[in-house]
Amino acid sequence: MKQFGAFVKKEFYHILRDRRTLFILLGMPVVQIIIFGFALTNEVKNAKVLVFDNAKDVASTSIIHEIDASQYFDVQQNVTSYSQVESAFKRGAVKLAVVFPSGFNNDLEHVNKAPIQLIADASDPNTANTLINYASAIIMDYQDRITNEHRLPYTISTEMRMLYNPQLKGAYTFVPGVMAMVLMLVCTMMTAITIVREKEMGTMEVMLVSPVQPLKVVIAKAVPYLLLSMVNVASILLLSVFVLDVPIHGSLFLLVGESLLFILTCLAFGLLISTVTDSQQIAMFISLVGMFLPTIMLSGFMFPIENMPILLQVISHIIPARWFFVIVTSVMIKGLGLGAIWKETLILMGMMLFLLTLSIKKFKIRLA
């Protein structure tokens, strides 16, 4: 244990003395989130909203009021029929419509449950997503508030309709995507590179000639990156809550736990990469092509999986980030609990164990 501690300490020296890399690793998520934050605010500020209120009661009125008060939305007009909604979208006069059923407040008070329909113009899917997410967040906040006030579990279910692009569903955001990308870079790529660097420099050989268990060396190398990733998770979440106004609706504990699971999966993959090559360049190349690109293209955060060709949809199943993306979206944006994501969690866990076992098996004690 003392020996292991010495290994970890040495690894921290390497990382802390390479200021430039450290700066990039810690700064990258911040920059990504902030750039996105600016792009986002420019894009959706004061989006025109149409309201079709069949209820006209206290609940619907206060929700409309809150939507209007938000910097992202500007409630334009009230209409009285679906055909008016449709024609407004056709004219491109609005980006989002909010529909309350009649007796909205009544249902809420008596069965504690009521639906709201959100309709967005999905011909611009990114904006549509963002608008739906923001509107959902406002509605969710309202629900949380009345739940707290009355100590009753109110549920407002938001039903979403993406006009003109019905395939696109669910709430995608940038935050889960940035998280997956950053963790992948820090854990998979940096771990692979740091282990391979020791092979390239010949220091790994010296350790293999010593009585120390090589696996211990390698695991010690992964520990600092695990901590670094947790720092990144924290900074991404803080920025998304305080800069992007994307609140965490579900359990923070669950979110962090799931992130840890994903981090371990990435570390195991980095370990695996380090067992198949002796060159830092190749390790970087495999990490980028084998992990980073598929994560961006196939995890569902850039392009909706439902819109992909069948072959790519099938391939997307083996991408850990795909499952992590669903998990983060569910917990963070939709406020769901473990009950809703146990399947994805199990899949990630399976992938992690598989990768770890494979890399430990492949980790050769004798180099050749």
């Binding site: 003395r17 420099m201 010949g202 220091t203 293999l208 009585p211 180099l367």
Partner: protein, 248 residues
């Protein structure tokens, strides 16, 4: 094999595909000996040494190191040897002291042993003032001397040195060999590869490897008189002329 034999090798062979890098070599090294392992680039020196250190699995043949079998008892071998690889193998971004501390820790030495011995090594190398400088900032010769000190820090029975003086200036090479003598006096067996022929003169016995085979094995003076050569350089030229392999 008598009691004073510490390395014993018989018919040791390593093939990579259909290329035979080490071709059935046999020799013995006595306790406390400085054994020179000579050969041109690509002769197979590193490959042979790596098999003895347990880094590489032989294709065939037998060998024991410090009384332990290289197939079955690699863990025991590891505890009894030191190794300085052909590549520079200290951490450039750690200080002199941190490097010593780290490698000594690998061998599970106690803190008091490490502390005492570190002071001794720093003094011996005249590095007391530079102990907290990054290794990166030292000249190559100093780095090599430090790497050697680190390789024998845990007081192994045998130390394997793979071209330890490659690229080092002649004066520092002399100093390096003084350190090797010192280690041998302390009872450490030294197994050293080199392609500097003048260094062969410093060894108790040398073997000369050509194309994966050992073509000659004797004391430096024995080799010279056998081949009627005036220097080891000449001995080597006579033997190496037969080589078909070119270095890589």
């Amino acid at each position: 094999m008598n009691n004073d034999t510490i390395i014993s090798v018989e018919g040791l062979t390593k093939r990579f595909g259909d290329f035979t890098a080490v071709d059935s070599i046999s020799f013995q090294v006595g306790k406390g000996e400085i054994f020179g392992f000579l050969g041109a680039n690509g002769a197979g020196k590193t490959t042979a040494m790596r098999m003895l250190c347990g880094l590489s699995m032989p294709t065939s043949g037998k060998a024991s190191v410090a009384g332990f079998d290289i197939y079955k008892q690699t863990e025991e071998i590891k505890r009894n040897i030191g190794y300085m690889s052909q590549k520079f193998s200290l951490y450039e971004d750690l200080t002199v002291r941190e490097n010593i501390r780290f490698y000594a820790g690998i061998y599970g030495k106690t803190n008091s042993f490490i502390k005492e011995k570190t002071a001794f090594v720093l003094k011996q190398l005249h590095l007391e003032k530079d102990a907290d400088k990054l290794v990166r900032s030292l000249p190559l010769g100093w780095k090599q001397k430090l790497a050697f000190s680190v390789a024998i820090f845990h007081e192994p029975q045998i130390v394997f040195l793979d071209e330890p003086t490659g690229g080092v200036d002649p004066v520092t090479r002399r100093e390096f060999w003084n350190m090797i003598y010192k280690a041998a006096e302390d009872g450490i067996t030294v197994f050293v590869t080199t392609h500097y022929m003048d260094e062969a003169e410093y060894c108790d016995r040398v073997s000369i490897m050509v194309d994966g085979r050992i073509d000659a094995l004797d004391t430096p003076s024995g080799l010279k008189s056998n081949l009627k050569a005036s220097s080891m350089d000449e001995v080597f030229l006579m033997l190496a002329r037969k080589a078909k392999r070119t270095g890589d």
